[in-house]
């Protein structure tokens, strides 16, 4: 009788340990795999064909978006505030991910002010922050193919004279290896949040 009681207690403890381990591992697994700060799009949105040029004057097309993860930001070189801050943050995010051995997406600045952002201007601008950042510009209608797909807003705003600024979305798009928009980060962009979430999005260990 005493033995069977002990056996029951042992079985109960063993089951409790097994159950606890199972639930703990599940909780840990879900905590590690779900981005906390990014919005993962319910369905990846494929970017249509477009014809732009990069800051080296080379053609930049949809095929250039495939094969690696990309962080895509829309801005312009005359942007005094938001764009420089975002490019600095993205550069530091990339460096942090490389440092911890994670997949570090490439960084892409798509100009929403192609009138002033020639390849030369864009090249000097992006390389000022980081030689790894690629600037893309071109015909506004071609840029619209990218912005309309991803619900990116941009509009010129004249400041009372010939000078203008460009109102624009501040979201960072995460483009997957197939050239489809997979997720996005809304502002404010916190370096630590991106560094924490991006491996969960790209699936790197």
């Amino acid at each position: 009788m005493e033995i069977s009681n002990r056996l029951l207690v042992a079985i109960f403890i063993a089951l409790a340990i097994l159950g606890g381990t199972f639930f703990f591992s599940k909780a840990l697994q879900s905590g590690n795999s779900s981005p906390e700060f990014a919005t993962v799009w319910p369905r990846s949105v494929s970017i249509p064909e477009f014809e732009l040029i990069d800051h080296d004057g080379q053609p930049f097309r949809r095929e250039n978006l495939t094969g690696s993860w990309q962080l895509m930001f829309f801005g312009f070189t005359h942007c005094p505030d938001i764009c420089p801050a975002t490019l600095q943050q993205l550069s530091l995010v990339q460096a942090s991910l490389e440092k911890i051995g994670q997949v570090a997406p490439e960084i892409l600045l798509v100009s929403v002010d192609p009138e002033r952002d020639t390849p030369d201007v864009l090249g000097a601008y992006v390389s000022y922050f980081d030689a790894n950042i690629k600037g893309v510009t071109g015909d506004l209608d071609e840029i619209r193919k990218l912005t309309s797909t991803s619900s990116i807003f941009s509009e010129k705003s004249y400041q009372g004279n010939d000078e203008y600024t460009v109102d624009h979305s501040t979201v960072i798009l995460v483009v997957n290896e197939s050239g489809a928009i997979h997720a996005s980060f809304s502002a404010p962009h916190i370096i630590g949040n991106l560094v924490k979430d991006l491996p969960r999005i790209t699936g790197s260990k």
């Binding site: 942007c79 005094p80 505030d81 600095q88 550069s91 952002d117 000097a124 000022y128 979305s169 502002a187």
Partner: protein, 148 residues
């Protein structure tokens, strides 16, 4: 010409400093003036304006001997869209301070009158309705490179 400008600033600074025995009624702290980025000749300045008086003080204009135009702007972000607009007057509440900072109110330094770069000495005059403040500091580079 340069000597007269320096003397003018020193005189203004002295007048402001002497008019308040218990510290300045208006003050500027944490001044950062950042060099233009490649592709642009527009610099940007950030600082805190402190009003130590019991009355609101209105900042109505700014100027600089080094720039043709100094403009106050405000960046706002609504529903994920950043917009920058000029601001004509900035009220600094009594016994309070207003921050000119990245992502909010900031100062645009437009049309440099000479070639300027990191290390250049820049002076900005803050014109209030009934007061004048002068700040002067070196132009700083904007970038934060990897590892810095």
């Amino acid at each position: 010409m340069k000597l007269s400008v320096v003397l003018f600033f020193l005189l203004c600074g002295s007048l402001i400093a002497c008019s308040h025995e218990d510290g300045p009624s208006l003050d500027v702290k944490n001044v950062r003036i950042l060099a233009p980025l490649p592709g642009s000749d527009v610099g940007v300045a950030y600082f805190d304006v402190v009003n130590n008086t019991d009355a609101v003080s209105h900042l109505i204009n700014m100027s600089s001997p080094q720039y043709g135009q100094v403009a106050m702007h405000e960046t706002t972000e609504t529903k994920g869209i950043a917009r920058m607009r000029p601001v004509s007057t900035v009220p600094v509440p009594a016994n309070s301070e207003i921050k000119f900072s990245s992502g909010g109110l900031h100062v645009m330094l437009i049309d440099p009158l000479a070639e300027l770069g990191p290390g250049s000495q820049i002076t900005i005059q803050l014109h209030f309705e009934d007061n004048l403040l002068i700040v002067s500091t070196m132009l700083q580079p904007r970038r934060i490179r990897r590892g810095q």
